[in-house]
Symmetry: C2
Amino acid sequence: MEVKLPEFDSVFSIDCVIFGFDAGELKILLIERNEEPFKDWLALPGYIVEQNESIDTAAERILYELTGLRDLHMEQFHTFGEVNRHPQGRVITVAYYALIRINGQKELRPVTQYAKKAFWHPVNELPKLAFDHSEIFKTGFNKIRRRLSYQPIAFELLPEKFTLTQLQMLYEAILNKKLDKRNFRKKMLSYGFLKELDEKQKGVSYRAAKLYKFDKRKYTKIFQNELTTVES
Amino acid sequence: MEVKLPEFDSVFSIDCVIFGFDAGELKILLIERNEEPFKDWLALPGYIVEQNESIDTAAERILYELTGLRDLHMEQFHTFGEVNRHPQGRVITVAYYALIRINGQKELRPVTQYAKKAFWHPVNELPKLAFDHSEIFKTGFNKIRRRLSYQPIAFELLPEKFTLTQLQMLYEAILNKKLDKRNFRKKMLSYGFLKELDEKQKGVSYRAAKLYKFDKRKYTKIFQNELTTVES
DNA sequence: TTACATCGTGTTGAATATACACATTATCTT
DNA sequence: AAGATAATGTGTATATTCAACACGATGTAA
């Protein structure tokens, strides 16, 4: 080390926008804060990056500590660096998102004291969130919307077996518009990564729909072809 | 301030991937470093964010200091946060890109001592760069490639008046493939944001081509309509 | 005047996207 | 068991977009 890096009172943090889909509604994961500033406020799960961990690792750890959720594939989508976004000092935050299945089983249980609890909240009618988290959410939501229109990322939100109507409802929830049933089905099936199962929906009081499953192998094959990247 | 933020020996930095187009070639802006580490290496223009400036402001300042360029519209595209990406400590860097006109007039002249010089270098055959800058460049290049396929961002690289052939050559340089002349023209003109001028190319030893100009007003109108964003 | 280099232009067929309605099926109720 | 209910599952016609493809016109230079 020939030159010392300057020492500022500044830190990095991670905030996570985790989308889930349940009961026909799109939701995100919020925590209730148990720490100042913004104690008792609702906020995105987020915390400070340790000095010896990469930001991707930090994102996983932080989400786990605040919500008990693990092993989800998150991706960074934007970095927020306004000077006064944190009242206690300079904090630049890297925002990540993920789409996951809300599974009745999975309990949301913070493993640190920083969060009182973690829970799913519908994306419509979100309350005001701590810090600039409302803006972070909005940016993230717009990202996945746009992404959904050219990449089939919706499957990550659905249970393993799902009906085409469920899939369509999810698209409609994210894109916030009605889609045509026949055209939607035609298009989805034409991709070739939906596998029709020999099984039907259970427990509905009307004609049960066929269940489908997402064929990841075919999906990645198709998806890869669409990306042209430089390697050199 | 009730709780103090932790004090790590960690800093934010900004790195800029600035694209230009000249003599039919796509280029990026590099500097020759005048500081350890990586003294004398080629690198992307980049430096440390001050405590009292937002990252967007920092990006502008840093680019100016290292290259003399001002007032360009940069956008962040990714944040690099591996633990050991900087040999002197923990440095997380937010990468920005911009597309600009290389103007014969504009001198590239660093105003700080951190860079010995700044210059344009063709994106093909880039040498190994300092830090993880080769990777940052690659990520940025892939970003603009993908972006070019759904947003007409190429105009930012061309002189104010340009021919359709020049525009096509630029697309071909970025996308790295040949395009069909007639289809390309048809499509570009169909957008309606190209304004045909009453002027022709000068100084060529063959039939001169018509000059066009980019109509920013129409462009933004069309462009806005394509984005559906959430506001609430 | 001739050679050269690039400009500028249209059509056709294929693929994709859009608009649109009703008979079928399983369940529930009486 | 008959009828009501609620959602499933399916096809066609039209418009739009994309892809492939070649050559005469024009200006410059020798």
